[in-house]
Point group: D2
Chain length 161, copies 4
């Protein structure tokens, strides 16, 4: 049984047609799991629906606490890419005995050309096979939480060493 | 370094608009890797481009030989779902020391609503983390080659036991 | 008030994932009108759901009779492209006092890359502005029923003269 | 021969993945014409690439002048919906002897769920069949420039009377 926590991020950005801007509505996770015909046992819970640039320490505490308290030992977290590494570090310091994989998208799922479905398939697979620890899964790769950074110029996650 | 062998299947079916039917053209794998922004080192080679119901023993030999001869030890094979289990068995009998993951799609990638991108993200992740052996990755799950069947009525892969 | 008659054709072909082939299910017309945010008053009726290569004289009679009997004077018919010209001729011989526009698609709507939405927007616009008569609307163009043929090699509708 | 002038608007908004916001790049018009398999003779020219809320009187003068000077008498203009009615009024005051149709989209074309392709098919059809004058084509409907407003709450264009 896999637990999926939704926190927002580009994954779930949608187009607000009345105001002509990006916004957050409901998560697309259930629809993505349906499209991917996922048959892994996964329960989805939305913790927040925010841009990760707006994520506060208190928000991170909510994520940490949920990961601590949920009975599942395999957890996927959808998260904005900008501060994904920070949240991964907070989780690594405070959660043990679990495999946690953070993932996100560079292009909103609601766009036809999103990398979200690929990343979701990837994260759900890594979480089933990686040993305990906190990881980031992007671009078909996985990184340990303490050996990764987002290159802000290229938008790509890279190992530190 | 991951080797990707393309054999056709629903993944790569396209719509032939002159004759109004499904057909095979070029593989969509490169486009899918681009869309998924995959940064795993992967080289793609098309072995054949056929419906897996039309796959002969000779075709399977071609797949086996390519898996034996390629220097990479991590291999993803895109394959029609109908005889994917048969090809997995042929590979398990004749290839050793490698992690081979077969994957496919229930809906062609060229359709907007395909499960292909999700499955590709999943297969590329499983192949990096599973031990040596032959596996099928579908629906976000992985199955050992000798404990899986395709349920023809539901279109879903299931464990035998 | 516009009447839309659905007869099938490439427009409405869908992918049958259990049998791995194209088939007809329900029409996509309502979904397409919603996507196009159409606000023309239009009522949709499915007369048949077939490949136009399989359309018989009896089927054509059904279409003709429905066009005769419906009170609306502006009618759009979705139709397979292969015999669209034949149906247009049957309508021109037997229906008068109405503007009838036949349209279709080269790529099924269910494919991401369909021309269907463009053609539907086009047909609904032509039917509001063209004088009485029977027309074919494809590729952003309109043709009188007796001055058009489908070029089978290129898949394109062309004027005869 | 139809002239298409591009001015930006929701039609052409794209997702800037480095900064995580909407922006304007190149127009999608050529790609949309290709997808719609349009065979009307149309030449596309980008006049500006802006949100119509940012459109100044000077920008409107550029549009007016281009419509006056182009030899074609049938013109489609893609435009943001927020001030489309204002630009239509400026055109009606200063351009005569031509059929001008303004159109736009509520959802960017780059989103899978855009109404853009439908509206483009509609606008290209109306411009071929409507008499001289300035019109707005949205939602499969056409409105004379002086009998239309955008309902800001619903995002829908409505007749004044």
């Amino acid at each position: 049984m896999i637990r999926i926590f939704v926190t927002g991020g580009t994954f779930d950005k949608t187009y607000d047609e009345i105001h002509g801007r990006l916004s957050f509505g409901d998560t697309h996770l259930q629809e993505m799991l349906r499209l991917g015909r996922a048959r892994v046992e996964a329960s989805v819970r939305t913790l927040m629906m925010i841009d990760s640039l707006d994520m506060t320490d208190a928000d991170r505490e909510v994520i940490v606490r949920n990961c601590q308290q949920t009975p599942e030992t395999r957890i996927v977290i959808t998260h904005g890419t900008d501060t994904m590494v920070e949240t991964a570090a907070a989780l690594a310091r405070q959660v043990s005995g679990k495999t946690i994989v953070l993932t996100g998208a560079m292009i909103p799922y609601a766009f036809g050309s999103s990398d979200g479905l690929f990343n979701l398939g990837s994260a759900l697979s890594f979480v089933q096979t990686l040993p305990e620890g906190v990881y980031i899964a992007m671009n078909g790769q996985h990184f340990a939480w303490d050996n990764v950074r987002k290159n802000r110029e290229t938008g790509v996650f890279e190992p530190l060493t």
